[in-house]
């Protein structure tokens, strides 16, 4: 990928899904994403809000933000 190419934003919605789906869907999206892409995961499963950033750390990826809205969370990751 060249600099200046479009950075894609990939959004995955795992609201209502439980263990291990949020983590697995996040990993699947990260595998498909290209370096530089932003993967946004939206969910409601509380343990995954902690565990997705743990997975990102283990994968060596940056978590850009973790936001809360009611019982929903949104995690932005740079691939």
């Amino acid at each position: 990928m060249e600099w200046g190419d479009n950075i894609t934003k990939i959004e995955i919605d795992v609201r209502g899904q439980t263990c291990p789906v949020p983590l697995v869907e996040c990993r699947k999206a990260l595998r498909k994403a290209s370096p530089g892409d932003e993967v946004v995961v939206i969910g409601t499963h509380q343990a995954s809000k902690k565990e997705i950033p743990m997975a990102c750390e283990s994968l060596g990826l940056d978590v850009l933000a973790v936001e809360d809205k009611g019982n929903e969370w949104k995690i932005r990751i740079r691939r």
């Binding site: 291990p20 990993r27 595998r31 994968l59 990826l61």
Partner: protein, 151 residues
């Protein structure tokens, strides 16, 4: 794709989970596949070694067919647990297996079990199975694993 992954946030970031799946009980197959998927999701490799009662679950149509490890009650307990799992939005074992394979998880089938129980390759879901092996295969897989479990 694997190469790209290895460089940035991909597979083989260190660590491996190797699990012996000895039980064929439905709830324990859930444990094995959830842990395997969790390991893969966190950038580890994963191998599941299906042996004895566990191997029965690799038979065609067998994945969901196991009894509940406790309170099976001739299927009534399993039916109740499945109902509650559905309500809690827990995915099926088929879906967990699909995800596991998509994320590069390995499945090993125990050859001795096949011999003892008279199971032929044609009876197994061969598209899931990466290797047919014996104890040496397990030790070879597990000797550099950071996580190994017997379920």
């Amino acid at each position: 794709m694997e190469d790209k992954d290895t460089q940035v946030g991909g597979d083989h970031m260190g660590g491996k989970a190797v699990i012996v799946v000895h039980s064929g009980d439905m709830d324990k197959i859930y444990s094995a596949l959830i842990i395997g998927n969790g390991a893969l999701s966190m950038g580890l490799d994963s191998s599941l070694y299906f042996t004895f009662w566990g191997l029965q679950r690799l038979k065609i149509g067998g994945l969901e067919a196991g009894p509940l490890s406790k309170m099976h009650m001739l299927g009534l307990g399993k039916w109740m647990v499945k109902k509650r799992m559905k309500k809690a939005n827990v995915v099926s074992l088929e879906k967990l297996m699909q995800d596991y394979k998509e994320l590069g998880g390995r499945i090993i089938a125990c050859e001795m079990t096949m011999e003892i129980m008279g199971i032929k390759k044609e009876e197994l879901c061969t598209d899931w199975i990466d290797e047919y092996g014996a104890v040496g295969t397990y030790i070879h897989e597990a000797k550099d694993a950071s996580i190994t479990l017997f379920i």
